[in-house]
Amino acid sequence: MSSRDRELLDGTHGDGAAFAMRLVVRAAEVTRARQLIDITRAHVDSCLYHGEATLDFVQRLTDGHARVSVPTTLNVGAVDLLHPELFRGDPGVADRGRLLMNRYRALGARPTFTCAPYQLLDVRPSLGEQVAWGESNAIAFCNSVLGAKTNRYGDFLDIAAAITGRVPEAGLHLTEARRATVVLRLADDLPAALRDADVVFPVLGIVLGRRAGSAVAAIDGLAANQSEDRLKALGAAAASSGSVAMFHVVGSTPEAPTLGDALQHQAPERVELIRLAELRAVRDELSTASGDRLTAVSLGTPHASLSELERYAAMLADRRVHPDVECLVSTGRDVMAEASAQGILGRLRQAGVELAVDTCSYITPLLRNAAGPVMTDSGKWAYYAPGNIGASVIFGSSAECIHSAVAGRVVRDMRPWGGA
């Protein structure tokens, strides 16, 4: 520990900073780190209300005069602060959720309230940067797609790292831990159209999470230079079905120009094939409802990027969402501001699409009829919404979701799946 670390611990910088430092030291014990290292940025997930314990915690920090010491962004909270009328749950919970969000802002963090901070170009870390990020999809994206280094910082430890500017030198902060030990190879029976379909990425993500668990895996067999939107969908699903904090996609992610690079030129512990039958089975498992009835379409989990909003607007063109269906897109307030400036927001609203920011429709009651069936293009939404908000789910591609929203019933396109 440095002399500043010891000062933090002994309360020289206040009781709040001392509490934060005790958590960082506890983390160092659990991870058996030899030393602490500096971080340049933090992304904090602790601002989502999970009951009074989350408020009791931040109160302890506030009472102890804690402040963040590195540039810090905030993850989603329980309410859309810009469109509070969208909240359909217990107003008491909304008040507590809002209070928590404001308490984190008061610690000096930037009120981004997005689960996709990597879409904000002015705060996203560069290759090799040491950071402390919370939120499972953001962690996976940070390590895998940006090549910045973070461990899985859960609630409490994320803000403790932001306050102290320190983390244990362990896990994915170290280059050797970023090596793929598992290779997941797409089998020859996958149709070419499926390998290049948006819809395969969340499904592949669920498979990745199940097969890899907490190991680092490399996916081999996709075309090079996959888009950030696809890699986002892949990582979010993988971090839902498994504890995936990092993955490689050969030819697309920065530490995997080749399979050999992903493996850091060592032999993998195992090589496994992913066959079409497994992908179809996982796709079907993501739907808990059948038939063609639907009450809502939920897009933007993780938060929609500007390019996704543009695609939705283009797919809708001059058509409108069916009056019996609610079409809700979640995004970040900064992306929404940009979409507004570019006229994309106006086109979406004109078509009957509703936008929510600062939160997400599977963690907080936003949908008019949450019981569903709700159609989604997100593996993560499909995975969590049945338990969190009691929704029945129909999983499909973004295009299927948009076409279904317009038709007022589920419209399928099985062509990428080879017809079944």
Partner: protein
């Protein structure tokens, strides 16, 4: 460390407390989990790993506040997220939820429902 004496709940699959458990009831709500509906409250939860969301620390602290927490958790690998949740709960509410790591073969040998005694970092079967 206070001694803990409670019945084991062996989970067939890892459980993310966030999205997987309702802190107000202590029950498993993950519809994909084979033990949907089982209560974790007061049990020594045995599972290979805590998986999924980085919000599980908050949920663990909230279960301590709401008195629906597991008595302890036994894992096959260290879990930073759960360890920090337990550390915060202890600072805020003065209650310990020990999170212990056992060798995978010892963990796998624990039958569901058996009484366990945890003290000084050791686990003994009654």
């Amino acid at each position: 460390m206070t001694e803990i004496h409670a019945r084991a709940l062996v989970l067939a699959e890892g459980l993310s407390l966030w999205g997987g458990m309702d802190p107000s009831s202590g029950e498993i709500i993950d519809v994909h989990h084979p033990q949907l509906g089982a209560s974790l409250t007061g049990r020594i939860v045995v599972m290979p790993s805590g998986r999924g969301s980085s919000s599980s620390a908050s949920v663990l602290a909230e279960t301590v506040r709401a008195k629906t927490a597991p008595a302890a958790m036994l894992l096959a690998e260290p879990d930073l997220i759960l360890a920090i949740g337990a550390a915060v709960a202890e600072e805020l509410y003065g209650v310990q939820v020990p999170i212990l790591v056992l060798p995978p073969d010892e963990l796998a040998a624990i039958p569901d429902g058996v009484m366990l005694r945890i003290g000084e970092g050791t686990v003994r079967r009654e």
